[in-house]
Amino acid sequence: MQNLLEVRNLKKYFATQKAVDDVSFSIGKGSIFGLLGPNGAGKTTLLRMITGIFYPDQGEIYLNGKPFNPVNDIGDIGYMPEERGLYKKMKIGEQAIYLAQLKGLSRQEAREKIKEWFVKFEMQSWWDKKVEDLSKGMSQKLQFVTTVLHAPDLIILDEPFSGLDPVNANLIKDEIFRMSRLGHTIIFSTHRMEQVEEICDHIVLVNKGKKILDGSVKQVKNDFKEDLFRIEFEDQILPEHTAIHLFNVVSKNDRELVIKKNEDFSTNDILQFFINKGLHIHSFNEILPSLNDIFIRLVEATPKARQFENITA
């Protein structure tokens, strides 16, 4: 898979913080990429460098294999910042056209595309309204439309679902999947791990300006698995069934066991053991850690709030 975006040794130091400290990663074309991290980890700074708002102190950004040029390549990026913003007094249709024109679309082109999107999102009646008339969720939808309107190669969404009801969240989620299938690459930044698990192919976790995790969702979960298994039985579990060195019992129910496998043995050994005991197994599943658990485990090792420091770079 060809890389759409490649970030190499990116650094950005502010007066009191190493906001981004030597971060590298690459994003495949058409993938949905999760950029994760606790508050103040440097995600927004990273995104601002990728969108050309900040210049990196050091490091390179490559877009489509070429060095990123903030002036010319800006039209290939759509950025929805975490802090939403629209002109409150401007009519919605005019505003969408204006934002699209800034991204390089002609007025006519912009108008047609906006009409299309407004039909799709059932926003036709909004055209002559002002943004101040919209609810938070409604303006969120509008913001999403203005971000993806010019069909950029790279779409960056910072917490795109905050403030949306489940129906509208699904609407946008479906659009994200659709655009990914069409070959658009999506960077998705959030704290909501269940959304990441559901949507993203690949994740990077940053903390205190440094990358601490990088990989596909599946691979990351495998890397952090703890050999935990859940076994459900047809029969009652008796004390003799668990007195064995193959595993340790984590929790026990009437007909359900959660065990931690001993490293020296395989899952087959365990199954064999229960079969020999004459127990009927209803199901046998590995419990993979949720991204939430992994996130907490990795981040908890460091102080919760980021401290200020003096940087002499």
């Binding site: 950025y79 910042p81 913003g85």
Partner: protein, 441 residues
């Protein structure tokens, strides 16, 4: 269309289409004209008319004191005393002393205004003067003819020699009016449109749209687009104001009865006489300017310079106002303390303007018209006094070059501050911090 063009277009159109803009553009000239007409009108109406009975006239006062039907009427033949003058319809009673005494006494229930009192004093002095002259053997007829001939005998013309040898009549009053008018206009618009830039920037920051926009264009483009767009709004408003004011003044002459206009001119005349012409109202100057419009003034140059200094001064300060707008947060109070270093030189410029109108070649006036912080206001006060007689070409040129240079410097500085400030939330920055941002790479 390129991005900065789009931004200028948006900034311009959203403001020009705004109801407040339309309202203020059309109402201000109307309000201004109404104010001028109204204040003159009320000045006429509210002038006190006093009827004064004069008693103990030794003889010569009655022939030498003139009544003025619009202020004080003297009656020398009234049979009144201090008890019944009011009942007989007089506002006051004036006792003339016997010869040799200076005890002139005016009794009244209500205090007389300064104008009326001054008028009575002048008439008394004139009567005494005439009487003394007559006692020295000057005929009454001769005296009358002298006073008639000497009344307004002089109309002082200051002839200024131009370099090409031609003489030109200098019109100090007109120069004063034009200088003051254009100076104050630039002064006010700097504040109005500067504040508009600041509010616009702060609004974009608080709406959080700034980040969306700067992911589509350079922060500098956004800032300059706003500044230029608002400059366009200002020019549009000026143009409309000038057209409207001239249209209203011209149409006023049709709609107002000729009598009222005559009264207004009379009022100005008497006012001028009373105060010796030193205390002319703006309205009067505008009227004056209109009548002597084409005499001795290079209007092309003045209009060009006005536009240049309006734009230059605006651009010089607008960038700084934009910088402030980019560093403040929700609290509008924050802007106050940051604005002080910007508003001080503007106000200072205005103070220098008033003094340089009296003396356009004083060292303070010359320096202030060169330094870009004050030049746009002060230079406009000097130019109407004549280029190159009062303002040599080198001064005008240097002032313009320095204003352009100053604009480039403030814009460069503001651009740097703006880049950082627009995306910084939380604490507002001080000027010191802003300077740090500017000199960072």
């Amino acid at each position: 269309m390129n991005k900065i063009g789009l931004i200028i277009q948006r900034e311009y159109l959203t403001r020009v289409k705004n109801k407040t803009f339309i309202l203020s553009t059309f109402l201000l000239p109307v309000v201004m004209i109404l104010f001028i007409v109204g204040s003159t009108f009320f000045a006429i109406k509210s002038r006190e008319k006093r009827k004064v009975a004069v008693v103990n006239d030794p003889g010569f006062f009655s022939s030498n004191m003139k009544s003025d039907s619009s202020s004080v009427i003297f009656d020398f033949n009234a049979a009144v005393d201090s008890n019944n003058y009011e009942a007989k319809g007089y506002d006051g009673i004036l006792y003339l002393p016997p010869e040799g005494s200076r005890q002139y006494e005016l009794r009244s229930k209500k205090q007389f205004g300064l104008d009326s009192k001054g008028y009575i004093e002048r008439q008394l002095n004139k009567a005494i003067e005439s009487n003394l002259l007559q006692q020295r053997g000057i005929e009454k007829a001769t005296l009358d003819s002298i006073s008639k001939a000497s009344d307004k005998a002089v109309d002082l013309n200051n002839i200024v020699k131009e370099q090409d040898g031609k003489s030109r009549q200098a019109n100090a009053g007109l120069a004063y009016g034009v200088g003051f008018g254009s100076g104050i206009l630039i002064y006010i618009t700097m504040f109005i449109f500067g504040a508009m830039v600041m509010r616009g920037v702060a609004e974009e920051k608080m709406n959080r749209i700034a980040e969306v926009i700067v992911s589509s264009c350079k922060p500098f483009e956004l800032m300059m687009g706003k500044i230029i767009g608002i400059a366009g709004v200002g020019l549009t408003q000026f143009l409309l104001w000038i057209i409207l004011i001239f249209a209203l003044i011209s149409s006023m002459q049709f709609f107002l009865p000729a009598e009222t206009i005559q009264q207004m001119q009379d009022a100005q005349q008497t006012q001028q006489n009373m105060s010796g012409g030193a205390n002319n109202s703006m309205a009067l100057k505008i009227m004056d300017a209109k009548t002597t419009l084409m005499e001795g003034v290079n209007w092309g140059l003045i209009i060009f310079c006005f536009l240049f200094y309006f734009l230059g001064g605006y651009l010089f300060y607008a960038a700084l106002f934009a910088a402030i707008g980019s560093v403040i947060n929700e609290d509008p109070q924050e802007a106050q303390s940051l604005m002080l270093p910007i508003t001080m030189p503007i106000i200072f410029g205005f103070i220098i303007l008033t003094s340089s109108l009296q003396n356009p070649n004083s060292p303070v006036a010359v320096w202030a018209s060169l330094i870009p912080f004050t030049s746009s206001i002060v230079m406009m006060g000097r130019i109407p006094f004549g280029v190159p007689q009062t303002v040599p070409y080198w001064q005008l040129g240097l002032s313009m070059v320095m204003l352009i240079g100053g604009f480039l410097v403030t814009t460069w500085f503001a651009g740097k501050v703006y880049r950082t400030g627009i995306l910084m939330y939380g604490k507002k920055a001080s000027w010191k911090e802003m300077a740090k941002w500017a000199f960072r790479k």
